[in-house]
């Protein structure tokens, strides 16, 4: 849902859209949790509740032609990059109308027409691909940027280090967006990283680093604009470190035995990107309720759309293996 306007920061009207978009993602994710618990959704699902600010802030800063690659926690990125909630929900229901035609599922959401090269169920798996996509743009002289989302858990895997190293070496137009929610599944950052400030990782490659509060969508947007401008102007890739909060578990149904419940609740209360923007915009209860009703209706409609969708034939499993 990136707009054609690209200012350094968002105006008041745009912020209203941004709030609506974040709220839509929130309600979508809550609905996904509900339908999964009701036994309607197959597979392994990860919601990004709490991380709406990074998805919307980054994707809104993109220009037409820019591409993204996402992670296993991809619903927010996918919606923010412009996939219709109907197509996303249909995918989660395994329907032909889904954004991956029922071949992908929650961890493999694609929307090539809208510049989404795909979510990835292998942590860090999309990073070298983003470097390569950016290389193609560079070689053809196209003013496009390839953007990778990944979490702090990915900063320890080889693909991360290899992809960033190559990207900087070749100064390709890529932005590496670290959504640092301090958890690699159930493992806290203190147990998976020897350094507390993961933005230091960029320094090792001589890569430009930017930092922003991932729970502040305006800050995300501003930093993303800066990062994208830098990359697009041929100055090389950028490591964009977003300080994020994952409100819920790693996957739907995760009892989070590893996490202090009170602390998680307090974070959700104090660092909610939606609440923050709502307060800034001074939205009263009635106005917010109207907005909420509007997006909830879209989400409900997506469930109806998905349920009414077409099941693939079992033997469709043998299609799309080769071009």
């Amino acid at each position: 849902m990136a707009t054609a306007e690209h200012k350094a920061s968002l105006g008041k009207n745009e912020l209203g859209d941004v709030l609506r978009e974040m709220l839509l993602i929130r309600r979508f994710e809550e609905k996904v949790e509900e339908r999964f618990r009701a036994g309607e959704l197959p597979g392994f699902l990860h919601v990004a509740i709490g991380q709406e600010g990074s998805a919307v802030g980054v994707c809104r800063a993109l220009e037409d032609g820019d591409v993204i690659a996402s992670t296993h926690r991809a619903h927010g990125h996918t919606l923010a990059k412009g996939t219709h909630p109907n197509e996303l929900m249909a995918e989660l229901y395994g329907k032909q109308e889904g954004c991956s035609r029922g071949y992908g599922g929650s961890m493999h959401l694609f929307d090539v027409e809208r510049g989404n090269m795909g979510a990835n169920a292998v942590v860090g798996g999309g990073l070298p691909i983003v470097t390569g996509a950016a290389l193609a743009f560079q070689m053809r002289g196209e003013p496009r940027v390839a953007v990778a989302f990944f979490g702090d858990g990915a900063t320890n895997i080889g693909t991360f280090h290899e992809a960033l190293n190559l990207a900087q070496l070749w100064t390709v137009p890529a932005v590496f967006v670290l959504e640092d929610n301090k958890w690699a599944e159930s493992t806290p950052e203190s147990q998976h990283s020897p350094i507390r400030d993961l933005s230091l990782r960029a320094k090792a490659f001589g890569m430009k680093g930017l930092k922003a509060d991932g729970q502040d969508v305006e800050a995300v947007y501003k930093a993303a604009r800066q990062a994208l401008d830098h990359a697009r102007s041929g100055k090389g890739p950028v490591f964009l470190h977003l300080d994020c909060v994952r409100f819920h578990g790693h996957y739907i149904g995760d009892p989070q035995v590893y996490r202090d419940k009170d602390e998680a609740r307090a974070l959700a209360e104090s660092r909610d990107p939606i609440k923050r923007l709502r307060e800034k915009l001074g939205l009263g209860d009635e106005e917010f309720a109207d907005l909420d009703a509007e997006v909830t209706e879209i989400v409900e409609a997506s469930v109806e759309f998905a349920k009414a969708g077409t099941d693939p034939a079992p033997e469709d499993a043998l299609k799309n293996i080769y071009a």
């Binding site: 035609r101 390569g132 070689m139 693909t159 190293n165 190559l166």
Partner: protein, 326 residues
């Protein structure tokens, strides 16, 4: 008809594609100034420049993945994985990503990338520089797998691999690089999935790949002296496999030997044997024989290395067993 080496044939396919198509480029370790560890890309830097003959760090995941990413955005990259052994380092990107992106996206993506690599014993590098790992990759739906054994095949097949819209793992055999052979004046693309009958025969079919094609031709000559007429067939493309040609040959000869340099157990030959027993069961007069490396890592000492990998005599012994002369 010019005569060129297998090495020149690979280079000619790459260079010709790059001359006619800006979307084709090569990347890999030491491929620029050094011309590749096998000299395949020698001189290409001078002709095409560093932008299209891209030296990479020693970083197989990144170079394989970057090739995939560029392919997704419409290029036709050819990534060189210096030694087949190092495919294991790139396997995440090749197996989990390139092979499945089209499928997972419901057909939205195409991944026209080629991974060139080489391996093969006979020069005593030890256990980590000469493995034959084609069986790992034929097992992956979404990949195409080619193993060229002659200059003509290397050139025509690589051309087809570059212009195939699927990820192709292209195996070359190290000891074949100096091999000379006639090639057509102009590159004639060889369709992927078509076997080549190198020699016609009546009594036994030997289905061989890579170096073992040549060992099998030598064995066939020797068998001829013993009055055994041997047909030698090279599938050339292991995935997709030209089952029709293999099966019809065996239906004619009624006996089969499958030969490759890779370890016999769980090897590509096991699949070929299964295809033959199922599709030509009533035609078979003997068990399908398999020839391959013994179940051991490749050893260093030349005498041990020679012992582990198969040679013409091993193929000949297998041929004789199928006709009851073993």
């Amino acid at each position: 008809m010019p005569e060129i080496t297998y090495r020149e044939a690979v280079r000619d396919a790459l260079s010709t594609a790059m001359r006619q198509d800006d979307g084709v480029f090569i990347m890999g370790e030491d491929i620029a100034e050094m011309g590749g560890s096998m000299g395949v890309t020698a001189g290409m830097l001078d002709e095409f420049g560093a932008e299209r003959v891209r030296n990479t760090p020693i970083s197989e995941m990144a170079l394989a993945g970057a090739a995939i990413g560029a392919a997704l955005q419409g290029m036709r990259p050819v990534a060189e994985i210096m030694y087949e052994d190092f495919l294991t380092l790139a396997a995440e990107q090749i197996v989990n990503q390139s092979a499945k992106l089209r499928y997972m996206s419901g057909g939205q993506l195409t991944v026209p990338v080629t991974f060139r690599t080489q391996g093969g014993a006979g020069w005593s590098p030890g256990a980590q520089h000469a493995q034959q790992l084609e069986a790992w990759f034929v097992h992956i739906p979404g990949l195409k797998v080619v193993f060229a054994s002659t200059p003509e095949d290397a050139r025509g097949l690589l051309w087809s691999a570059i212009y195939d819209d699927n990820p192709v793992v292209f195996f070359e055999h190290r000891t074949l690089y100096p091999l000379k052979g006639d090639v057509p004046d102009e590159i004639e693309p060889i369709p992927l999935g078509r076997a080549r009958v190198h020699r016609e025969g009546e009594d036994v079919t030997v289905i061989a790949t890579g170096r073992l094609v040549h060992e099998s031709l030598e064995a066939a000559e020797k068998a001829e002296g013993d009055g055994i007429s041997v047909e030698v067939v090279d599938p050339r493309t292991l995935q997709p496999l030209d089952e029709e040609t293999l099966v019809s040959s065996v239906k004619k000869t009624n006996r089969a030997v499958v030969a490759h340099e890779a370890v016999t157990r769980m090897g590509f030959g096991a699949e070929v044997a299964a295809v033959l027993q199922y599709q030509a069961f009533d035609w078979l007069d003997a068990p399908v024989e398999r020839v391959g490396a013994k179940f051991a890592p490749l050893p260093f000492a030349p005498v041990m290395e020679q012992f582990v990998v198969p040679h013409a005599d091993d193929v000949l012994a297998a041929i004789k067993r199928t006709v009851g002369k073993g």
